[in-house]
């Protein structure tokens, strides 16, 4: 199949792996920011193909995982409001908040509908003009423009029962926060391919300039990722930190200007709460005053109660790359995809879930995969 098979070619993959082995001489730590990269790396078994000199860490790029419990509690409380239909992407359904999840709220009678696109949510609003329809706006710069587009569409049509609960987050400020914390000692970063399609590769120039770090923007197929890793190794070995785009079939230096224009017409930058990082300045998006009639936070006055983190859960540390999932005492024992404690185990893009599903909960099995 086009666009898949050519990026999964086993012969080319073997050649790239060999090049990585040949070029890599000193121990380095690389972080893939994006959860889709994390999953792809595990799903294709890329970690075991790498030389022992390269350590891969997973970053905060799972939108579900970085959503703070307080925000999640808010969403669940809104879903329980009478008459409300809460629409959401599927990933959020099972994520445990302080006391419940959207899935549980749904089982208890709340109207929660999974949608594939904001346009589906808008259609539900058109079909139910007498009920408030709230879209749970979780995601990074990839999803925010489509949500902005739905707001503009709702305004143009005069749909007055459509609301956005914006919990959008921006990726470069989170990356800065992780680097500034000094916890993870990184040598290079695999930048998020789809986010960068929107924001442009030039948004990452601060990495070599301010932090002396190499950054590669890579796609999500195995060859994309291997090419990205090779590029990082090469740049680090040569001590020439720079931003390299190996996903040029999607990413341009300036990004997608139309998408950005939509996004910033509807949203403005604000501080945001991140799980594991707390409040990060200028790292979120809220609706502009001009569109306040679509803001669920203005429409609903709910009190979800104090937020509580599950005791013992290390999701916050895993998100920052400060800990790996097996370092958490709950991992694989109390916390599994079947009985998740923290969001990183629930989400299809969460680091703990990827470790568990694709690499096994037992050391013996992980060892078996390497041999």
């Amino acid at each position: 199949m086009r666009y898949l098979d050519e990026f999964r070619d086993p012969v080319l993959a073997a050649a790239l792996v060999e090049n990585i082995h040949r070029r890599s001489t000193r121990p380095i730590r690389l972080m893939e920011f994006c959860g889709t990269h994390t999953v792809s790396i595990f799903k294709h078994g890329i970690r075991q193909l790498l030389p022992p000199t390269i350590e891969m860490l997973s970053g905060p790029g799972c939108p579900v995982c970085v959503t703070a419990n307080a925000d999640l509690d808010w969403a669940i409380a809104v879903a329980r409001e009478p008459e409300v239909i809460l629409t959401t992407f599927g990933d959020m359904l099972r994520v445990p908040g302080s006391r419940s999840s959207l899935e549980k709220a749904k089982a208890e009678g709340a109207k929660v509908r999974v949608v594939y696109s904001t346009l589906d949510a808008l259609q539900i609003a058109r079909d139910n003009p007498d009920r408030p329809v709230v879209f749970l706006g979780i995601g990074f710069e990839t999803t925010a423009p489509t949500i902005a587009a739905s707001v503009l569409q709702a305004e143009a049509e005069g749909v007055s029962n459509y609301y956005i609960l914006s919990m959008h987050k921006l990726t470069p400020p989170a990356t800065k926060a992780i680097l500034d914390s000094g916890e993870s000692h990184l040598d290079g970063i695999i930048g998020p391919g789809h986010v960068t399609t929107v924001i442009g590769s030039q948004s990452w120039e601060f990495l070599p300039r301010d932090y002396g770090l190499s950054c590669v923007i890579a796609g999500f197929e195995p060859l994309d990722i291997l090419q990205g890793i090779y590029t990082l190794v090469d740049g680090i070995e040569a001590a020439q930190p720079e931003v390299t785009n190996v996903y040029s079939r999607s990413v341009r230096p300036e990004g997608n200007e139309t998408a950005l224009e939509y996004m910033y017409r509807v949203f403005e930058v604000c501080a945001a709460d991140w799980r594991g990082m707390g409040e990060v300045p200028a790292s979120g998006l809220k609706l502009r005053e001009r569109y306040h009639q679509f803001d669920a936070r203005e429409r609903f006055a709910v009190d979800p109660g104090p937020s509580v983190e599950p005791p013992g859960c290390l999701c916050g540390d895993v998100i920052r790359g400060a800990k790996t999932p097996p370092e958490c005492s709950l991992y694989g024992k109390v916390c599994t995809p079947h009985h998740p404690v923290g969001p990183c185990m629930v989400s299809s893009e969460g680091t703990c879930g990827a470790y568990y599903l694709y690499a096994g909960e037992q050391d013996s099995v992980r060892h078996n995969l390497r041999s």
Partner: protein, 342 residues
């Protein structure tokens, strides 16, 4: 009379009319047509003239699917094939089915008639008789249009010993065809996805395929139809039941392009998507080619392929060798598969 009324389930005149006018024209087995409280059927041994040592296989399953009709099938065909296939997966020759209908008040009679006709066709295709039935009508909202439950009875011929606990290290893993067709066809119908024209459910009775496999070799150790939870879940069940490991090759598992494309877009893994007309067989290594040949000669096994092997360690785990040469674990599905954010 074009919709189901509560009175159709009352046991009175309307119930009788419904059975006489809608069900019996399609379900014509003499044992059913007598309308006694239970079907009296010939002992299966005399039907088949089997030696005394045969055993009976007996199974039951409930069917709920939305929408009732989808590209390539409908709930009626599912209800017949699903139960026939459950019997076939222990090597049984299926003979008799029962069918229970829970109908929501207000369901169009035309819809019910179509479902029943489809059950008749599927039963004929599988070579089974529907000999007992029941209908209940529940108030609007008490059920979602139509639920069907079927039970099935079959015979396991002498010498056949097929079970999820029979996989041994060295055995080969054979898949009867491409995975994911049913799940993605139903999903695309339900969600109105644009590529549905290319997607057809694989729902089909597999008993004839199994019969040809048994004719080719007695060394069938395990058979499973990977329905809900997909191939990944079936393989995990076998690995657990047999206390073995299973290793499959990603590149050898057939997946149709339309299903691959849909899965890529939605963030699904075809290994976890439901099938209704596929089976996975674990067979003795030296019989693999012979069984594969027999499968490929059957209309439901044309794309059959050897996809992997049973290994001693790690126990109770399924490993997948990826297209680029890495290895990863394939776990059971946790919860429902949900479309992702980005």
């Amino acid at each position: 009379m074009d919709k189901i009324l509560l009175a159709h389930g009352s046991g009175g005149r309307l119930s009788h009319d419904l059975i006489r006018d809608l069900f019996l024209p399609h379900f014509a087995a003499p044992a059913l047509a007598k309308l006694d409280d239970a079907a009296v059927v010939e002992p299966l041994a005399t039907t088949l003239v089997l030696p005394d040592s045969h055993r009976l296989a007996f199974t039951t399953d409930g069917y709920v699917v939305k929408p009732l009709f989808f590209h390539g099938g409908d709930i009626g065909r599912l209800a017949v094939c699903g139960t026939v296939n459950d019997l076939a997966m222990v090597g049984a020759t299926p003979f008799y089915l029962s069918a229970g209908f829970v109908i929501e008040e207000g369901l169009g009679l035309g819809i019910l008639r179509q479902v029943v006709a489809s059950m008749k066709d599927s039963a004929q295709e599988a070579g089974v008789e529907i000999v007992a039935g029941d209908t209940k009508v529940v108030e609007r909202g008490g059920a979602d249009e139509l639920f069907i439950s079927t039970a099935g009875l079959g015979i396991v011929p002498q010498g056949v010993d097929i079970s999820g606990s029979n996989a041994r290290p060295g055995d080969l893993v054979i898949l009867s065809g491409a995975i994911g067709d049913h799940g993605i066809a139903v999903l695309s119908e339900r969600e109105g996805l644009a590529f549905k024209a290319e997607l057809t459910s694989d729902v089909a009775p597999l008993n004839h395929l199994v019969a040809s496999m048994l004719k080719a070799s007695s060394q069938l150790h395990v058979l499973r139809d990977p329905t809900r939870g997909g191939l990944a879940t079936s393989l995990n069940e076998i690995a657990l039941q047999s206390g073995v490991g299973i290793r499959i090759e990603e590149g050898k598992v057939p997946v149709h392009d339309a299903v691959r494309a849909a899965c890529e877009m939605l963030g699904y893994d075809p290994l976890y998507v439901a099938n209704e007309g596929k089976l996975v067989a674990i067979v003795a290594p030296d019989e693999g080619e012979r069984i594969l040949e027999a499968m490929r000669a059957d209309p439901h096994g044309g794309e059959a392929a050897i996809i992997g092997e049973v290994i001693a360690d790690p126990k109770s785990k399924v490993l997948l060798r990826t297209g680029i040469g890495g290895t990863r674990i394939v776990d059971m599905l946790a919860g429902e598969m949900l479309p992702r954010i980005c």
